[in-house]
Protein backbone atom coordinates (compact mmCIF):
# COMPACT_ATOMS: atom_id res chain seq x y z
CA UNK A 1 0.00 0.00 0.00
CA UNK A 2 2.81 2.35 0.96
CA UNK A 3 4.66 1.43 -2.22
CA UNK A 4 1.58 2.20 -4.30
CA UNK A 5 1.25 5.62 -2.66
CA UNK A 6 4.95 6.34 -3.04
CA UNK A 7 4.85 5.17 -6.63
CA UNK A 8 1.89 7.44 -7.37
CA UNK A 9 3.41 10.47 -5.71
CA UNK A 10 6.78 9.67 -7.20
CA UNK A 11 5.34 10.12 -10.69
CA UNK A 12 2.41 12.52 -10.29
CA UNK A 13 3.01 14.66 -7.22
CA UNK A 14 3.49 17.91 -9.15
CA UNK A 15 0.36 17.22 -11.24
CA UNK A 16 -1.53 16.45 -8.03
CA UNK A 17 -0.35 19.76 -6.52
CA UNK A 18 -1.37 21.64 -9.67
CA UNK A 19 -4.85 20.07 -9.58
CA UNK A 20 -5.13 20.95 -5.90
CA UNK A 21 -4.08 24.54 -6.61
CA UNK A 22 -6.56 24.84 -9.49
CA UNK A 23 -9.48 23.57 -7.39
CA UNK A 24 -8.38 25.77 -4.46
CA UNK A 25 -8.34 28.80 -6.75
CA UNK A 26 -11.80 27.99 -8.11
CA UNK A 27 -13.29 27.46 -4.63
CA UNK A 28 -11.49 30.51 -3.35
CA UNK A 29 -12.91 32.67 -6.09
CA UNK A 30 -16.42 31.31 -5.52
CA UNK A 31 -16.14 31.74 -1.73
CA UNK A 32 -14.76 35.26 -2.14
CA UNK A 33 -17.56 36.29 -4.49
CA UNK A 34 -20.13 34.66 -2.23
CA UNK A 35 -18.73 36.53 0.78
CA UNK A 36 -18.87 39.81 -1.15
CA UNK A 37 -22.52 39.13 -2.06
CA UNK A 38 -23.24 38.35 1.61
CA UNK A 39 -21.48 41.54 2.71
CA UNK A 40 -23.54 43.62 0.27
CA UNK A 41 -26.78 41.96 1.34
CA UNK A 42 -26.17 42.22 5.08
CA UNK A 43 -25.01 45.81 4.68
CA UNK A 44 -28.32 46.59 3.02
CA UNK A 45 -30.19 44.73 5.74
CA UNK A 46 -28.41 46.52 8.60
CA UNK A 47 -28.82 49.87 6.88
CA UNK A 48 -32.57 49.38 6.40
CA UNK A 49 -33.00 48.18 9.99
CA UNK A 50 -31.04 51.17 11.35
CA UNK A 51 -33.18 53.50 9.22
CA UNK A 52 -36.41 51.97 10.54
CA UNK A 53 -35.15 52.26 14.14
CA UNK A 54 -34.26 55.94 13.59
CA UNK A 55 -37.67 56.62 12.04
CA UNK A 56 -39.42 55.04 15.04
CA UNK A 57 -37.28 57.02 17.46
CA UNK A 58 -38.12 60.26 15.68
CA UNK A 59 -41.84 59.42 15.74
CA UNK A 60 -41.52 58.63 19.45
CA UNK A 61 -43.18 55.27 18.90
CA UNK A 62 -44.06 53.46 22.12
CA UNK A 63 -43.40 49.73 22.29
CA UNK A 64 -46.13 48.05 24.32
CA UNK A 65 -45.87 44.60 22.77
CA UNK A 66 -42.29 43.55 21.95
CA UNK A 67 -43.26 40.62 19.70
CA UNK A 68 -45.68 42.73 17.72
CA UNK A 69 -43.16 45.55 17.34
CA UNK A 70 -40.46 43.11 16.27
CA UNK A 71 -42.76 41.66 13.60
CA UNK A 72 -43.65 45.13 12.45
CA UNK A 73 -40.12 46.52 12.18
CA UNK A 74 -38.71 43.38 10.59
CA UNK A 75 -41.68 43.27 8.21
CA UNK A 76 -40.93 46.84 7.13
CA UNK A 77 -37.28 45.97 6.60
CA UNK A 78 -38.32 42.86 4.67
CA UNK A 79 -40.48 44.96 2.36
CA UNK A 80 -37.51 47.16 1.51
CA UNK A 81 -35.12 44.28 0.85
CA UNK A 82 -34.99 43.12 -2.79
CA UNK A 83 -36.42 39.67 -3.56
CA UNK A 84 -34.01 39.00 -6.35
CA UNK A 85 -30.39 39.72 -5.49
CA UNK A 86 -26.96 38.30 -6.19
CA UNK A 87 -27.58 36.03 -3.22
CA UNK A 88 -30.86 34.63 -4.46
CA UNK A 89 -29.95 34.20 -8.10
CA UNK A 90 -31.34 30.67 -8.04
CA UNK A 91 -34.53 31.67 -6.25
CA UNK A 92 -37.00 29.84 -8.47
CA UNK A 93 -40.05 30.99 -6.59
CA UNK A 94 -39.71 34.50 -7.97
CA UNK A 95 -40.03 33.41 -11.59
CA UNK A 96 -42.47 30.57 -11.04
CA UNK A 97 -44.93 32.42 -8.86
CA UNK A 98 -47.75 34.42 -10.39
CA UNK A 99 -48.03 38.06 -9.37
CA UNK A 100 -51.25 37.38 -7.40
CA UNK A 101 -49.84 34.51 -5.40
CA UNK A 102 -47.74 35.41 -2.36
CA UNK A 103 -46.85 31.81 -1.67
CA UNK A 104 -43.54 30.04 -1.81
CA UNK A 105 -42.31 26.64 -0.72
CA UNK A 106 -40.86 26.30 2.78
CA UNK A 107 -37.41 25.61 1.35
CA UNK A 108 -37.52 28.80 -0.72
CA UNK A 109 -38.88 30.74 2.25
CA UNK A 110 -35.97 29.67 4.46
CA UNK A 111 -33.43 30.23 1.68
CA UNK A 112 -34.70 33.68 0.74
CA UNK A 113 -34.69 37.04 2.53
CA UNK A 114 -37.57 35.78 4.71
CA UNK A 115 -35.30 33.19 6.31
CA UNK A 116 -33.10 35.82 7.98
CA UNK A 117 -36.16 37.72 9.23
CA UNK A 118 -37.70 34.49 10.57
CA UNK A 119 -34.41 33.66 12.37
CA UNK A 120 -34.40 37.01 14.16
CA UNK A 121 -38.08 36.68 15.06
CA UNK A 122 -37.32 33.22 16.39
CA UNK A 123 -35.10 34.95 18.99
CA UNK A 124 -38.03 37.12 20.12
CA UNK A 125 -37.66 35.92 23.71
CA UNK A 126 -34.19 37.54 23.85
CA UNK A 127 -35.72 40.90 22.97
CA UNK A 128 -38.35 40.40 25.68
CA UNK A 129 -35.73 39.69 28.32
CA UNK A 130 -34.44 42.67 30.30
CA UNK A 131 -30.96 41.21 30.83
CA UNK A 132 -28.58 42.04 27.96
CA UNK A 133 -27.81 38.83 26.05
CA UNK A 134 -24.49 37.74 24.60
CA UNK A 135 -24.88 39.52 21.27
CA UNK A 136 -22.10 37.50 19.65
CA UNK A 137 -23.92 34.24 20.38
CA UNK A 138 -27.24 35.74 19.33
CA UNK A 139 -25.79 36.90 16.00
CA UNK A 140 -24.08 33.54 15.55
CA UNK A 141 -27.38 31.69 16.03
CA UNK A 142 -29.25 34.03 13.68
CA UNK A 143 -26.67 33.88 10.92
CA UNK A 144 -26.06 30.14 11.18
CA UNK A 145 -29.77 29.65 10.43
CA UNK A 146 -29.19 31.38 7.09
CA UNK A 147 -28.00 28.67 4.72
CA UNK A 148 -26.89 31.29 2.22
CA UNK A 149 -24.40 32.50 4.83
CA UNK A 150 -23.13 29.09 5.91
CA UNK A 151 -23.06 27.23 2.59
CA UNK A 152 -21.75 27.70 -0.92
CA UNK A 153 -24.47 26.80 -3.45
CA UNK A 154 -26.51 25.48 -0.55
CA UNK A 155 -24.28 22.41 -0.08
CA UNK A 156 -20.60 23.17 0.53
CA UNK A 157 -19.88 24.56 4.00
CA UNK A 158 -18.13 27.86 3.43
CA UNK A 159 -16.28 27.78 6.79
CA UNK A 160 -14.71 24.47 5.82
CA UNK A 161 -13.65 25.81 2.42
CA UNK A 162 -12.22 28.93 4.03
CA UNK A 163 -10.24 26.91 6.62
CA UNK A 164 -8.94 24.57 3.94
CA UNK A 165 -7.77 27.48 1.82
CA UNK A 166 -6.04 29.01 4.83
CA UNK A 167 -4.00 25.87 5.51
CA UNK A 168 -3.17 25.13 1.86
CA UNK A 169 -0.06 27.38 1.67
CA UNK A 170 1.53 25.34 4.48
CA UNK A 171 0.25 22.15 2.91
CA UNK A 172 1.97 22.93 -0.38
CA UNK A 173 5.29 23.44 1.42
CA UNK A 174 4.76 20.08 3.10
CA UNK A 175 4.00 18.44 -0.24
CA UNK A 176 7.13 20.03 -1.67
CA UNK A 177 9.27 18.62 1.13
CA UNK A 178 7.50 15.28 0.76
CA UNK A 179 8.34 15.28 -2.96
CA UNK A 180 11.97 16.13 -2.16
CA UNK A 181 12.26 13.14 0.14
CA UNK A 182 10.58 10.88 -2.41
CA UNK A 183 12.97 12.12 -5.10
CA UNK A 184 16.02 11.53 -2.89
CA UNK A 185 14.63 8.14 -1.83
CA UNK A 186 14.34 7.19 -5.50
CA UNK A 187 17.77 8.63 -6.38
CA UNK A 188 19.89 7.05 -3.63
CA UNK A 189 19.40 3.38 -4.68
CA UNK A 190 20.78 4.34 -8.12
CA UNK A 191 24.16 5.07 -6.50
CA UNK A 192 24.22 1.47 -5.30
CA UNK A 193 23.83 0.37 -8.93
CA UNK A 194 26.80 2.48 -10.09
CA UNK A 195 29.81 0.53 -11.32
CA UNK A 196 32.73 2.84 -10.50
CA UNK A 197 35.06 0.68 -12.60
CA UNK A 198 32.90 1.21 -15.70
CA UNK A 199 31.52 4.72 -15.47
CA UNK A 200 30.73 4.92 -19.20
CA UNK A 201 28.53 1.83 -18.95
CA UNK A 202 26.79 3.34 -15.92
CA UNK A 203 25.65 6.46 -17.80
CA UNK A 204 21.98 5.35 -17.70
CA UNK A 205 22.20 4.87 -13.94
CA UNK A 206 23.76 8.29 -13.55
CA UNK A 207 21.01 9.79 -15.73
CA UNK A 208 18.27 8.24 -13.60
CA UNK A 209 20.04 9.49 -10.47
CA UNK A 210 20.13 13.04 -11.81
CA UNK A 211 16.49 12.89 -12.97
CA UNK A 212 15.31 11.80 -9.52
CA UNK A 213 17.34 14.50 -7.78
CA UNK A 214 15.92 17.05 -10.25
CA UNK A 215 12.41 15.74 -9.45
CA UNK A 216 13.12 16.29 -5.75
CA UNK A 217 14.11 19.90 -6.49
CA UNK A 218 11.13 20.49 -8.78
CA UNK A 219 8.60 19.40 -6.19
CA UNK A 220 10.09 21.77 -3.61
CA UNK A 221 10.08 24.62 -6.13
CA UNK A 222 6.46 23.84 -7.08
CA UNK A 223 5.42 23.64 -3.44
CA UNK A 224 7.00 27.01 -2.66
CA UNK A 225 5.58 28.66 -5.78
CA UNK A 226 2.03 27.39 -5.17
CA UNK A 227 2.27 28.37 -1.52
CA UNK A 228 3.36 31.89 -2.55
CA UNK A 229 0.41 32.23 -4.92
CA UNK A 230 -2.13 31.29 -2.25
CA UNK A 231 -0.41 33.35 0.46
CA UNK A 232 -0.53 36.38 -1.85
CA UNK A 233 -4.25 35.84 -2.48
CA UNK A 234 -5.03 35.20 1.20
CA UNK A 235 -3.19 38.38 2.19
CA UNK A 236 -4.69 40.75 -0.35
CA UNK A 237 -8.15 39.16 -0.72
CA UNK A 238 -8.93 37.63 2.70
CA UNK A 239 -12.26 35.82 2.94
CA UNK A 240 -12.40 35.31 6.69
CA UNK A 241 -11.80 39.00 7.42
CA UNK A 242 -14.66 39.97 5.14
CA UNK A 243 -16.99 37.50 6.87
CA UNK A 244 -15.95 38.78 10.30
CA UNK A 245 -16.67 42.36 9.25
CA UNK A 246 -20.13 41.32 8.05
CA UNK A 247 -20.71 39.42 11.29
CA UNK A 248 -19.70 42.43 13.39
CA UNK A 249 -22.01 44.69 11.41
CA UNK A 250 -24.99 42.42 12.07
CA UNK A 251 -23.99 42.05 15.74
CA UNK A 252 -23.90 45.84 16.17
CA UNK A 253 -27.34 46.16 14.58
CA UNK A 254 -28.76 43.44 16.85
CA UNK A 255 -27.37 45.38 19.79
CA UNK A 256 -28.93 48.62 18.59
CA UNK A 257 -32.28 46.90 18.08
CA UNK A 258 -32.20 45.27 21.51
CA UNK A 259 -31.34 48.50 23.33
CA UNK A 260 -33.94 50.41 21.30
CA UNK A 261 -36.67 47.93 22.27
CA UNK A 262 -35.59 47.78 25.90
CA UNK A 263 -35.30 51.53 26.30
CA UNK A 264 -38.72 52.16 24.79
CA UNK A 265 -40.50 49.36 26.57
CA UNK A 266 -38.80 50.11 29.88
CA UNK A 267 -41.42 49.69 32.53
CA UNK A 268 -39.52 52.02 34.87
CA UNK A 269 -40.74 55.01 32.88
CA UNK A 270 -44.36 54.01 33.49
CA UNK A 271 -44.14 52.50 36.96
CA UNK A 272 -41.94 55.10 38.70
CA UNK A 273 -44.35 58.04 38.28
CA UNK A 274 -47.17 55.76 39.46
CA UNK A 275 -45.16 54.80 42.55
CA UNK A 276 -44.58 58.50 43.29
CA UNK A 277 -48.30 59.23 43.01
CA UNK A 278 -49.10 56.42 45.46
CA UNK A 279 -46.41 57.65 47.87
CA UNK A 280 -47.85 61.18 47.73
CA UNK A 281 -51.33 59.88 48.55
CA UNK A 282 -49.95 57.87 51.46
CA UNK A 283 -47.97 60.87 52.79
CA UNK A 284 -51.09 63.06 52.57
CA UNK A 285 -53.16 60.50 54.45
CA UNK A 286 -50.48 60.03 57.11
CA UNK A 287 -49.81 63.81 57.29
CA UNK A 288 -46.10 63.27 56.86
CA UNK A 289 -43.80 66.35 57.07
CA UNK A 290 -43.53 68.48 53.97
CA UNK A 291 -39.79 67.81 53.56
CA UNK A 292 -40.63 64.19 52.73
CA UNK A 293 -42.82 65.41 49.88
CA UNK A 294 -40.01 67.63 48.66
CA UNK A 295 -37.73 64.58 48.67
CA UNK A 296 -40.15 62.68 46.45
CA UNK A 297 -40.34 65.67 44.07
CA UNK A 298 -36.56 65.81 43.85
CA UNK A 299 -36.43 62.09 43.05
CA UNK A 300 -39.09 62.53 40.36
CA UNK A 301 -36.98 65.20 38.63
Amino acid sequence: MVEIILGFFGNYLIEFMMALLASALVFRYLAYRHSKDDEAYYSRFTRELDTCIDEDKQKGLRIDDVDSYLSNILGRVNQKLPTQTLRFRTNKNVSERSSDDDRMSLGDYVGSKHGLIASIQGEGSIFNCQVPPDFTELTDRVMNDDKNWTKLFGHVPIEGVSRMIDILPNLFIVFGVFGTFIGIAMALPEIANLDFNNLEGSSDTLTRFVINVAYAMKTSIAGIAFSLVLTFLNTFFPIQDMRERTFKKVETTMQILWYHIQNDSSKDKIIFPQILEVLKEISQKLNLPKDLEELSKRKAS
Binding site: N72, L74, D102, M104, S105, L106, Y109, A118, G124
Partner: protein, 154 residues
Protein backbone atom coordinates in the same frame (compact mmCIF):
# COMPACT_ATOMS: atom_id res chain seq x y z
CA UNK B 1 -33.86 26.04 12.01
CA UNK B 2 -36.16 28.60 13.64
CA UNK B 3 -39.14 27.65 11.45
CA UNK B 4 -38.94 24.11 12.82
CA UNK B 5 -38.87 25.48 16.38
CA UNK B 6 -42.05 27.45 15.72
CA UNK B 7 -43.80 24.50 14.05
CA UNK B 8 -42.78 22.10 16.84
CA UNK B 9 -44.47 24.34 19.39
CA UNK B 10 -47.83 23.95 17.63
CA UNK B 11 -50.14 21.44 19.40
CA UNK B 12 -50.93 19.75 16.06
CA UNK B 13 -47.34 18.47 15.88
CA UNK B 14 -46.95 17.19 19.44
CA UNK B 15 -45.13 13.85 19.82
CA UNK B 16 -43.80 14.04 16.27
CA UNK B 17 -40.06 13.79 15.64
CA UNK B 18 -38.22 16.57 13.85
CA UNK B 19 -37.74 14.46 10.74
CA UNK B 20 -41.47 13.63 10.69
CA UNK B 21 -42.40 17.29 11.04
CA UNK B 22 -40.05 18.15 8.18
CA UNK B 23 -41.74 15.43 6.09
CA UNK B 24 -45.05 17.24 6.57
CA UNK B 25 -43.61 20.72 6.10
CA UNK B 26 -41.76 19.88 2.89
CA UNK B 27 -45.01 19.94 0.98
CA UNK B 28 -46.19 23.13 2.70
CA UNK B 29 -46.00 26.62 1.33
CA UNK B 30 -45.55 29.95 3.09
CA UNK B 31 -47.73 32.96 2.50
CA UNK B 32 -46.48 36.45 3.33
CA UNK B 33 -48.98 39.16 4.29
CA UNK B 34 -48.86 42.85 5.06
CA UNK B 35 -51.14 44.63 7.58
CA UNK B 36 -54.86 44.51 6.67
CA UNK B 37 -54.44 41.58 4.28
CA UNK B 38 -57.18 38.98 4.64
CA UNK B 39 -56.09 35.37 4.98
CA UNK B 40 -59.69 34.31 4.39
CA UNK B 41 -63.16 35.71 4.93
CA UNK B 42 -66.34 34.28 6.38
CA UNK B 43 -68.13 32.20 3.79
CA UNK B 44 -65.00 31.46 1.73
CA UNK B 45 -64.41 27.87 0.78
CA UNK B 46 -61.01 26.45 1.50
CA UNK B 47 -59.05 23.28 2.12
CA UNK B 48 -56.05 24.71 3.92
CA UNK B 49 -54.84 24.95 7.48
CA UNK B 50 -52.68 27.84 8.56
CA UNK B 51 -49.93 28.20 11.14
CA UNK B 52 -48.60 31.64 11.99
CA UNK B 53 -44.81 31.68 11.66
CA UNK B 54 -44.42 35.36 12.49
CA UNK B 55 -46.65 38.36 13.08
CA UNK B 56 -50.26 38.21 14.22
CA UNK B 57 -53.81 38.05 12.92
CA UNK B 58 -57.23 39.04 14.16
CA UNK B 59 -60.28 36.79 14.13
CA UNK B 60 -63.45 38.77 13.63
CA UNK B 61 -67.11 38.14 12.91
CA UNK B 62 -69.45 40.86 11.83
CA UNK B 63 -66.82 43.49 12.53
CA UNK B 64 -66.37 42.32 16.13
CA UNK B 65 -62.90 41.16 17.15
CA UNK B 66 -63.18 37.73 18.71
CA UNK B 67 -59.58 36.71 19.18
CA UNK B 68 -56.00 37.56 18.36
CA UNK B 69 -53.72 34.92 16.90
CA UNK B 70 -49.97 35.05 17.41
CA UNK B 71 -46.83 33.21 16.38
CA UNK B 72 -47.32 29.45 16.64
CA UNK B 73 -51.14 29.58 16.58
CA UNK B 74 -53.00 27.25 14.26
CA UNK B 75 -56.29 28.09 12.57
CA UNK B 76 -58.52 26.81 9.79
CA UNK B 77 -58.13 23.27 11.16
CA UNK B 78 -61.86 22.56 10.75
CA UNK B 79 -61.14 21.60 7.12
CA UNK B 80 -59.72 18.37 8.50
CA UNK B 81 -63.29 17.61 9.59
CA UNK B 82 -64.47 18.49 6.09
CA UNK B 83 -65.85 21.87 7.17
CA UNK B 84 -64.83 23.67 3.99
CA UNK B 85 -66.71 26.90 4.64
CA UNK B 86 -64.93 29.43 6.81
CA UNK B 87 -66.83 30.73 9.83
CA UNK B 88 -64.98 33.97 10.52
CA UNK B 89 -62.75 36.60 8.97
CA UNK B 90 -59.04 36.32 9.63
CA UNK B 91 -57.07 39.45 8.90
CA UNK B 92 -53.38 40.12 9.38
CA UNK B 93 -52.75 43.13 11.60
CA UNK B 94 -48.98 43.06 11.17
CA UNK B 95 -46.37 41.78 8.72
CA UNK B 96 -47.32 38.13 8.95
CA UNK B 97 -45.98 34.90 7.50
CA UNK B 98 -48.24 31.86 7.60
CA UNK B 99 -47.42 28.25 6.85
CA UNK B 100 -50.11 26.73 4.64
CA UNK B 101 -50.92 23.03 4.97
CA UNK B 102 -53.26 21.51 2.43
CA UNK B 103 -55.96 19.02 3.32
CA UNK B 104 -54.82 16.63 0.56
CA UNK B 105 -51.21 16.68 1.78
CA UNK B 106 -52.25 15.75 5.32
CA UNK B 107 -54.70 13.05 4.25
CA UNK B 108 -52.18 11.78 1.74
CA UNK B 109 -50.09 10.76 4.76
CA UNK B 110 -52.69 8.08 5.45
CA UNK B 111 -51.23 6.10 2.53
CA UNK B 112 -47.58 7.09 2.79
CA UNK B 113 -47.08 7.33 6.53
CA UNK B 114 -50.00 6.12 8.66
CA UNK B 115 -48.10 6.71 11.91
CA UNK B 116 -47.71 10.45 11.27
CA UNK B 117 -51.30 10.64 10.07
CA UNK B 118 -52.68 8.98 13.20
CA UNK B 119 -50.64 11.27 15.46
CA UNK B 120 -51.88 14.33 13.57
CA UNK B 121 -55.51 13.24 13.94
CA UNK B 122 -54.98 12.44 17.64
CA UNK B 123 -53.45 15.90 18.18
CA UNK B 124 -56.33 17.49 16.27
CA UNK B 125 -58.81 15.72 18.54
CA UNK B 126 -56.95 16.97 21.61
CA UNK B 127 -56.87 20.49 20.19
CA UNK B 128 -60.60 20.47 19.50
CA UNK B 129 -61.33 18.98 22.92
CA UNK B 130 -59.29 21.76 24.58
CA UNK B 131 -61.15 24.41 22.60
CA UNK B 132 -64.48 22.79 23.41
CA UNK B 133 -63.55 22.77 27.11
CA UNK B 134 -62.55 26.44 26.86
CA UNK B 135 -65.80 27.31 25.12
CA UNK B 136 -67.71 25.40 27.80
CA UNK B 137 -65.96 27.33 30.60
CA UNK B 138 -66.67 30.63 28.85
CA UNK B 139 -70.37 29.79 28.45
CA UNK B 140 -70.48 28.84 32.14
CA UNK B 141 -68.98 32.21 33.12
CA UNK B 142 -71.46 34.06 30.93
CA UNK B 143 -74.35 32.07 32.41
CA UNK B 144 -73.21 32.84 35.95
CA UNK B 145 -72.88 36.56 35.13
CA UNK B 146 -76.35 36.57 33.53
CA UNK B 147 -77.81 34.79 36.57
CA UNK B 148 -76.22 37.29 38.96
CA UNK B 149 -77.43 40.18 36.81
CA UNK B 150 -80.97 38.81 36.82
CA UNK B 151 -80.77 38.25 40.55
CA UNK B 152 -79.70 41.86 41.13
CA UNK B 153 -82.41 43.12 38.80
CA UNK B 154 -84.96 41.07 40.71
Amino acid sequence: MSVLQIVKGCPLFHDLYDAEIMTICESCSVKTLVPDDYIFKKGDEGDEIYLILSGSAIVSKGGIEIAKLRKGDLFGEMVLLKENVRHADIMSDNYTDVLVLKYNDIFGLYQTNPKIFSLLILNLSRLLATRLKGAGSYIEELKIKEFERNKKAA
